[in-house]
Subunit: 339 residues, 2 copies
């Protein structure tokens, strides 16, 4: 059975979405002229500031384009659904936000993205634009701890990009922005659970099979295999497993502060996310941890996939300051006055 | 087949959700002591200010509790899933936010809510708290234009509550707040389409039946029958029908300004909402209308129902000023600096 979708032509879905994004948010966003897949912040890029370019496949909205704006990313290069952008829109994003102080590429660690962003970086080197890359690898379930460099980037992107974008906005030098970006990634841990698949606009067929009473712990945001498939369990049991795994690896001390994100993969409603949040809070209380900031909602989705992920960022004073730094994006606004 | 949900006990879902909401947003929200279904803003209520109490059934998150905060509602009384709160939490909300200048009740026009809020108002009259009520009736599909008082309140609540809450925050007198609330409701039009049902936590069974290639125009947010069921159509055709009906009734002049909301009923992803936004923008351009503000996302949901609604608020100078007035809620932040 094909999923019903409010689309026109499946092949045009991404471009029509982008047209709608620009129609809704003209004060925040524009496309580079002649490069409609290069979405740039109207405010943010400026001379002497390190530029931050993010990007990846569509279908994860508000990731990536929702995080383009003052205080966060300067531009996002947009691929087809669940597919990397080619080098061209990445290059156009980079040229549009280059303030002469270097441009940082940040994106999830997926082979297609690495290939295309690396190609773009090579071509930009010929234009004397210095580009560096920090991959996000926050998905704890995607590889063992001794192979962290193989891990994928998922919802923790929100915090990692946020910290790096704040450092750029505060006019940190290129070395310091890169240091912060790597440190933010090291300190960010995500683990998710999938209950039901999504379907791509062009096929409208499920992107994976799962039984009517099954769930899969650790499944990736494109349906990549997780670590354990089994019968449905309660919200408390699932939260306990996800957070337990994260804390085992994070090894926080009592009194440490964390930023938390309880994220819907798409169709899982706020009611369920907040039920998970309740258990998460109880576990963090038990561990003596302080929640500095909580985000609960649709932050990194897989179209209408059912399921959720939990992210913890292990804060220190610097990360906390950067996470608190105000940002103003079309789909995300935050700052110390607000949370 | 039962829907998979990340819950514990279905009967405890609402209370566990509220515990999670308070855990996530302690700086914004608190519950009245001894009345866990009465959610009050930490900032907002103050002496001499008209109080604004909203409320209704759970399952529509971020409606209602997400709109409690400075510049918007002072409190929300929370019912079971898709069921009105009883008088008690409404009374406790009212007492908690009463600043001596009167308290306005605003909620969607549903029989159960009217009965319970009216009972609360009667009991509060004995405590010398002056209460008035403005029902929201923005759902164009729910009754003919000559029976507007029978219409239901749906996603347009966001704009209507926002205008009234801003008037309260600006210390308007009770008469003016009531006038604004009624005017905001008159000027707000919503129409939706449903593609697939949701299920309640206690049953996990679909709340309505619909064929695999069918959609229903005008269905309510609890699955109330709509105006036309038929085969799935394209996003542009659906948008055209919804917006055409709204504009027929609104009768704007060229050059008029509108606030727009493209809202997901739950599982319909941002990609589809923005594809609808693209067509909406084209239609408003054709009609010579100016989009002053756009919201696109999950603002008034029905758990994981699939579908979307479009709301237009027909602005004048006063409504525009009130819609632009800053608000700071746990799940909604806006203000002229932001949009």
């Amino acid at each position: 059975m094909k999923t019903k979708k409010l689309i026109n032509d499946g092949a045009a879905a991404v471009d029509e979405m982008l047209a709608g994004v620009l129609a809704a948010h003209p004060r925040h966003l524009r496309a580079v002229e002649g490069s409609p897949r290069s979405i740039v912040a109207n405010e943010g890029p400026r001379p002497g500031k390190v530029g931050l370019v993010i990007g990846g496949g569509s279908g994860h909205e508000p990731t990536f384009l929702g995080y383009v704006g003052k205080g966060l990313a300067d531009a996002a290069a947009i691929g087809n659904v669940f597919a990397s952008p080619p080098p061209d829109p990445i290059i156009e994003c980079t040229k549009a936000v280059n303030g002469g102080a270097g441009v940082l590429f940040m994106y999830g660690n997926y082979a297609g993205d690495v290939m295309n962003f690396d190609m773009a970086a090579e071509m930009l080197a010929m234009d004397d634009i210095e580009v560096r890359t920090v991959l996000t690898t926050d998905d704890v379930a995607s590889a063992p701890v001794d192979q962290k460099e193989r891990r994928r980037g998922v919802a923790g992107n929100v915090f990692i990009f946020k910290a790096a974008g704040a450092a750029c906005d505060l006019m940190y030098g290129f070395d310091d922005v890169e240091r912060i970006a790597r440190f933010a990634n090291e300190r960010t841990y995500t683990m998710g659970v999938a209950l039901a698949p999504c379907s791509l606009p062009q096929t409208r067929k499920p992107n994976f099979e799962i039984g009517p009473d099954e769930m899969e712990i650790g499944m990736g945001i494109h349906g990549e295999p997780g670590v354990a498939r089994g019968p449905m369990r309660s919200a408390d049991e699932v939260t306990s497993e996800l957070v337990g795994k994260i804390l085992d690896e994070m090894k926080p001390a009592r009194g440490d502060r964390v930023a938390v994100l309880v994220n819907s993969l798409g169709s899982t409603p706020l009611m369920e996310l907040y039920i998970m949040m309740r258990k998460l809070k109880a576990m963090l209380d038990d561990a003596g941890l302080v929640i500095h900031l909580s985000l609960v909602g649709n932050y990194c989705t897989s179209l209408e996939m059912a399921g959720a992920s939990i992210t913890l960022m292990h804060l220190d004073d610097e990360l906390q300051r950067l996470i608190d730094h105000p940002c103003d994006c079309a789909m995300f606004r935050s700052g110390e006055a607000l949370q």
